[in-house]
C-alpha cells in the first residue's frame, strides 16, 4: 500500500497528469456538444452516438500513461525509484495501479460527461440509460480507458523515450488500425483482432461511423473487452519483465 501511496504522490505532484487529465475530459465533451448540436440529419441518434468523440480522450490518456513512466526515465527518477524499491515489479505494478485508477475515473467522466452533454442538447432524443447495453456503452469507458492506459504504460516502459512511445501509440491507435483494412482480402479479418478495434466493439461505437454495425464479428462485446484486457496486460507484463532485466 505504501508503494501505491508513493506512486500517487509522484503522479499528482507534477503538472502534466493534471493537464492531460483535464484535456482528456474537456476535449471529447466539448466536441460532443458540437456533434449533438448538429445531430438529427445524417447521424442516427442513439447511446452509441454520444460516445463518438471519446476516442479523443482515450488518445490523451495514452499520452498521460506513457508520460507517467517515460518522464521517470527522462529525468532519472526511475533510478531513485528502483533504489528505494529494489523489487522493480512491485514498484511498477504500484504505478500501474495508480495510473489505472486515475484513467478509470477519467474514462467514467468522459463516458458520462459526453452522454450528459448530448442529452442536455437533445433532451427529447430518448437517451435514457435503460438497458445493460446502454450502461456498457457509457460506463464501459472507465474500463476501456484504464486498460488502454495500462497498455500505454507497458509501451512506455519498453520504449523509455517520451517521443518514441507517444508517437508509436498515437500512430498505431489512430492510423495503423484503420489502414489495415486496405490490405486486400485479409485486411478486414485482421482488423477484427486488433486491440483498439476490440475496445471500440466493447463500447459499441464504430471507428468512422457510429451507425454501422458489423455483423459477423468473432467475439461478443464482453469477449472483446477480455481480449483487449489480455493484450494490454501482456504488453504491461512485457514492459515490467524487461525493466527487471535491464540496467536502470
Amino acid at each position: 500500500m505504501s508503494l501505491v501511496s508513493a506512486e500517487r504522490i509522484k503522479l499528482f505532484s507534477t503538472r502534466s497528469p493534471w493537464a492531460c487529465g483535464l484535456l482528456a475530459i474537456a476535449l471529447p465533451v466539448a466536441f460532443t456538444a458540437l456533434l449533438a448540436a448538429q445531430a438529427g440529419g445524417d447521424l442516427e441518434i442513439d447511446i452509441g452516438a454520444t460516445q463518438l468523440t471519446a476516442g479523443l480522450g482515450r488518445s490523451v490518456v495514452l499520452v498521460l500513461a506513457a508520460l507517467a513512466v517515460t518522464s521517470e526515465y527522462r529525468f532519472g527518477t526511475i533510478r531513485s525509484t528502483f533504489q528505494a524499491v529494489p523489487n522493480r515489479s512491485a514498484a511498477l505494478l504500484a504505478k500501474a495501479l495508480v495510473v489505472a485508477g486515475l484513467t478509470g475515473v477519467i474514462g467514467a467522466c468522459v463516458g458520462f460527461g459526453c452522454w450528459a452533454m448530448f442529452r442536455l442538447i437533445k433532451p427529447n432524443a430518448g437517451l435514457a440509460l435503460d438497458s445493460g447495453q446502454d450502461w456498457r456503452t457509457v460506463a464501459g469507458q472507465a474500463l476501456v480507458f484504464a486498460l488502454a492506459a495500462l497498455l500505454a504504460l507497458g509501451v512506455g516502459i519498453l520504449v523509455r523515450q517520451t517521443a518514441g512511445a507517444v508517437a508509436l501509440l498515437l500512430v498505431y491507435s489512430l492510423l495503423v488500425e484503420s489502414l489495415v483494412t486496405l490490405i486486400p482480402k485479409v485486411g478486414q479479418d485482421i482488423q477484427h483482432w486488433l486491440p483498439f478495434f476490440a475496445a471500440d466493439r466493447f463500447i459499441g461505437v464504430g471507428r468512422d461511423n457510429g451507425a454501422r454495425e458489423v455483423v459477423d464479428l468473432p467475439l461478443t462485446p464482453w469477449g472483446y473487452l477480455l481480449y483487449f484486457a489480455v493484450i494490454a496486460l501482456a504488453v504491461l507484463t512485457a514492459g515490467i519483465f524487461s525493466a527487471t532485466r535491464r540496467d536502470a
Binding site: 509522484k10 531513485s80 533504489q83 528505494a84
Partner: protein, 314 residues
Amino acid sequence: MIEAVGLTKRYGKTLAVDNLSFSVPTGRVTGFLGPNGAGKSTTMRMILGLDTPTGGSALIDGKRYRDLHQPLRTVGALLDAKWVHPNRSARAHLQWMAKSNKLPARRVDEVLEIVGLTAVAGKRAGGFSLGMSQRLGIAAALLGDPQVLLFDEPVNGLDPEGILWIRKFMHRLADEGRTVFVSSHLLSEMALTAQELVVIGRGKLISQSSTEDFVAQATENTVRVRSPQLAVLRGALGRLGANLRDEGENLVVSGMDCADIGELAAREGVVLHELSPQRGSLEEAFMQLTGDSVEYHTELTDGQTPATLVPAGK
C-alpha cells in the same frame, strides 16, 4: 560495511569494471578514487543494484542490495543530483521517497532542515542551482537515517562554499559513526575528506589503504642540494647508496633526509648553499599511479590536434 568481490561489468567489448574487490570499513569515510571513466559510477550503481554485474557481487552488511528490506533505512545514496523531476517540489520529491519506505512524514521536514532547504521546500526542483540540487540529493540520502552512505562526486561543479559545506558534512556523518563511501577524481579533495582510500584505474583496483599510507607511499620525499663543491658531495652520497638526480645546477637526493645530508657535508667539509626538503605533490603521485590507466589520453605534446575530450562517466 560494503564488500565488493570480483565485481565485473562488461558493456559489449568494453570492460568497465574488471574483477574489482575491495571493502569499505564501517564507521569511516572511505574515498573512492580514480580518473574519469575509471568505473567509479558503474561500481556504485552495481552496489545499489541498479546495474547487474556481469560477474562477482557487492554486499552491504553481508546482503545484496536487492535483498534489503526498505533499503533507504540501511543505505542512502546520492549518485546524481539531477535525478529529480524538474516540475516536482523538493518536498514532494522527498515525500514519495519517504512513503515508499514507510518513513514518517515528519522525517521529510527534518532532512530539509538538516541540509538547509526548508525555505525553498515548496519550490520546483528544476529551478535549483547545482549546489541546492546537491543538498536535496543529500537530504534524500539521509531520509531513512541510514548507517551506510554513498556519494558519487559530490563536490563536482560546486563553488568553494559548497565544497566546504560538503566536506564538513562528510566529517559530521563519519563522526556520527556512519560508513561513508565517496567517490572523486581529485586526490587533493580526498586527502582532506577520507581516512581510507580505494583507488581504481580502468576498472581495476590499484590500491586500498589508509589515506596516510597512500600519500606516503605515493609521494616521493627528496632533498634538493645546492653547493659549489657538488662533485665531492656526490661522491660521498654515492658511497652511502643514495639515489641522485641532477636538476639544472642542483642535485636532488632521495633516500636520505636533510639531517643526514647536512652532517655528511660537515664531515666532508663541503659548503652548502641550499638544503631543502621537497615534497611531491599529491596530484603528481596520483598521476604516477594511474597514469597508465587513464582511458582517454590527450596527445598535446606532439603539436598535433588534441584528441577529442570525452565526457566523464555520468
